[in-house]
Each structure stands twice: as C-alpha cells, then as structure tokens.
Symmetry: C2
Subunit: 238 residues, 2 copies
C-alpha cells in the first residue's frame, strides 16, 4: 500500500493507447512521470490530460517521459483521446504520451493509487489522481495523491521536476515556493529572489566558496548556526 | 506503509513545541494539515516553516489547523523556532502552530513519512517533506511526499485546500491548474477563466440548470458525450 521515497519503482507490463508498454524499457534511463486519473470521458481528467499534452514539450526538454493510467481499457483510452484533442485544440490524432490500461486494477492496488471514495458503475473503486516522479535510477523521487474532485497543477509538477533535476546534480536544495523561472511569491522574507537555491548542510563554507563561483549569502540567526546560505542557481549564466 | 485517501487519520499523542498534543482533540471538527520536515536547524525547513507561519492567517480563515512534525525533540523545536522567527522577520516569540516531536519515529513509520535517502548523524532515516490534508471527518483527503532537497510550495497547498473545501460542499470539481484567485495559466484551451469549476458527472443537465443559477457551458466533443460542463464558482457573487 503506497510506495515510499527511495524505493525502486517496480517493473510491469501494461496495454496502452500506444500498444504494449514494458515500464522499465519505456523509461529507459530517463526521468519519468506516471500519473493516474479516475476515468476516461470525465471532465477534470480531460482538462488534466490535455494540459499534460500541452506541456509535453517542456517535459521532453527536461528528458522526462510521461505515461497516464486509469482502470479503463486501451480501446476506451483511444476513443477518449479524440475528445482531449478537440477540447484543448491540440491538433493531430494522438497525444504525445501513452495512457496505460489497468482494467484489473493490478497496478492501482500495487502502487496505492485507488480512491475508495470514488466508484465506477459496478461499485469498484477507481484510481485517484496520483503522480509518481521517478529518477533515471528508477527510484521514486516524489509522489502526490489528489482526490477525484481536485485537478492537479501541472505547473507545480514542472516546478518540482526542475528542483529534482537541479538538486540531483548540484550541492543545493530549493527553498519553499522556489521556482526556476522566478516570479513573485505571495509571502516575503528571506531570499528576495525566488530562483535562489540553498547550499546543503553537508558542504562547509570553505567548500561552498570553492564550489559556488557566484558566492553565497549567509543569514544571521539567533542560534549562531550558519546553516542558511543562499546562492544563485549554479547553472545560470554569471 | 503509507496512508491511502479516504482512510481515517489515526489518533495519536505527541509532545510538541506547544506541549502535549492529542491529535483528534487538536483537529477537533476542523480541517487539518500535518506536514513533516527532515530536521530542525536546516535551511530548506526553515524557509518552509517560516512560509507556513506567514500563511497561517490564510489557513485559519479557511478553518484549517496546522501542525509540523520531525524526529527532533520538543526542546530542539523551541530553540529552532527562534531562528525561524528571525529569518522570516515574523516577530513575537512563537509561530502560530505546534511542531510535533517524533523522536522515536513512531509516527513517521506509521504514516510512511520517512525518506530512506536522508539520514541523521546516527545513520537513521529522517522524515521526508510529507503533507497530509485531513477533513473534518478525520479522513485523509490529499497527500504529497517531497524529498529533502525540494521545498514545498505553500501556494499549491492553499490552492488544494480551496479546491477540497469548495468541492466538499458543492456539486463541482476543479479542473487542471484551477485557482480560486484566478490568474493566468501557462497553457491555453478549454476554460478561459482559471476560476471556473466543472459540474460533476453525477448531476444531469436538468439538475445542473436548477442548481447552478449562473448556468453552465457545455463543450462539444467528438464522442458526443456532454460531460464537459464549466460553471462559475457557485459561491462567488452573481
């Protein structure tokens, strides 16, 4: 019931709107997002899968493959995709990622994706709005679980992908409400630039001086511990 | 391991920065947010708990009580709170919610909040950045699980609280990227106003006409199924 961070995301085979998918082959050595929805031909899901299709070029740029999943059949997914394309005016005759068919609920049960509050016509629970973000090491990096009534925020999903990818390769972490694109935060205090990162505690000041060519700013604190150190995104232009 | 949507959030007792907390008494008949952080006196956590303190009036307005949690002691929490207040210039001598002490990791294990990738000085795993949103019925409504390196977005947490509370009492659901405050979405198509809701599928057109005095707009779809129906937030002024 439910996967924990750091666990390897298990391999599986599933039929999909784009044919048979072997999960570990599909994600290969890329980042991956697996996200489930309650049912085909329902309103919120249509806006979500359409929004995901619109953002697919952003995810592709970040080396992220995507797959959706619900307890409907591959045939149902294919018919529903026509509605998604029409509603979001996407053009073409497919969306840029497969929708997996989990008719027997094997995957939904295994990965803790079911929403007991939402049932289909036969009284069986359907999938919630789960999102799993998986690293190139196939381990679970982040998960969210929203109910059927609350459509996801794909801008937030892009934001956390940016954070995961930045912090996987640099000795920084990203503060509350950080955004690689910047933008005003609703609350002030601390860093004035939403794009600033924080030096991780395992790095000493001397190491940080060496590592972060743009320098860092250390906050004065009552504890006298110098653990709050802001630094610009180390990947950005000087 | 890991709680599923719809499960009752178990009762527990814990020491905290504000004394002993009995969870079900503390949440009483309100909405509740329980959120964990890896460790006191660390950078991202300081920005997060400070941001949560800044947004506490917004949560209070929504009848939501908050509590933080980590594997540090109540004494450690109290000392660290001084840093949080100083860093975010909050004023006063406490933050507006308790930080629970889970030194033996009982709660962290029970609720699937541990992050095996992050260990403390003794090699024990610490808490991840989990968020549980619990309804007045004490059932789990929504959860997120972010790793230590990725600070949470408290604007997103406010957004989903707004959605959960709206959809709990009205026959609507909220589409992808919906926000009660509106604001431009990064991607177009579908509804042009981010604040529009969707009529849930269990309501017929006739019932919807009766129920939603502001009317609704039905989208034309290739399937000919009329399941995409946008309506203004039913609570907003006409």
């Amino acid at each position: 019931q439910g996967l924990l961070l750091g666990q390897e995301f298990p391999n599986f085979e599933a039929d999909s709107s784009q044919g048979k998918i072997v999960w570990h082959d599909y994600i290969n050595e890329k980042w991956a997002i697996l996200f489930s929805h309650p049912a085909d031909f329902t309103p919120v899901c249509t806006t979500e899968l359409g929004t995901a299709a619109q953002l697919a070029p952003e995810f592709a740029k970040r080396n992220v493959v995507m797959a959706a999943l619900s307890v409907d059949s591959a045939e149902s997914h294919k018919a529903w995709i026509k509605d998604i394309i029409a509603h979001k005016e996407l053009g073409g005759d497919d969306i840029p990622y497969p929708i997996l068919a989990d008719e027997k609920r094997d995957l939904a049960v295994k990965f803790g994706m079911l929403d007991p509050d939402e049932k289909d016509g036969t009284g069986m629970p359907v999938t919630a709005r789960a999102v799993f973000i998986i690293g190139p090491d196939k381990k679970l990096k982040l998960s969210i679980l929203y109910p059927a009534t609350t459509g996801r925020n794909f801008d937030e999903i892009l934001r956390v992908v940016d954070s995961l990818q930045l912090t996987a390769y640099q000795s920084v972490a990203t503060p509350a409400n950080w955004n690689v694109k910047g933008g005003a935060s609703t609350v002030g205090g601390g860093s004035t630039d939403n794009t600033d990162c924080m030096v991780v505690p395992s790095i000493s000041d001397d190491e940080a001086k060496e590592k972060f060519k743009k320098g860092f700013t250390k906050a004065e604190l009552p504890s006298g511990k110098g653990y709050i150190r802001y630094t610009p995104d180390p990947r950005s232009a000087m």
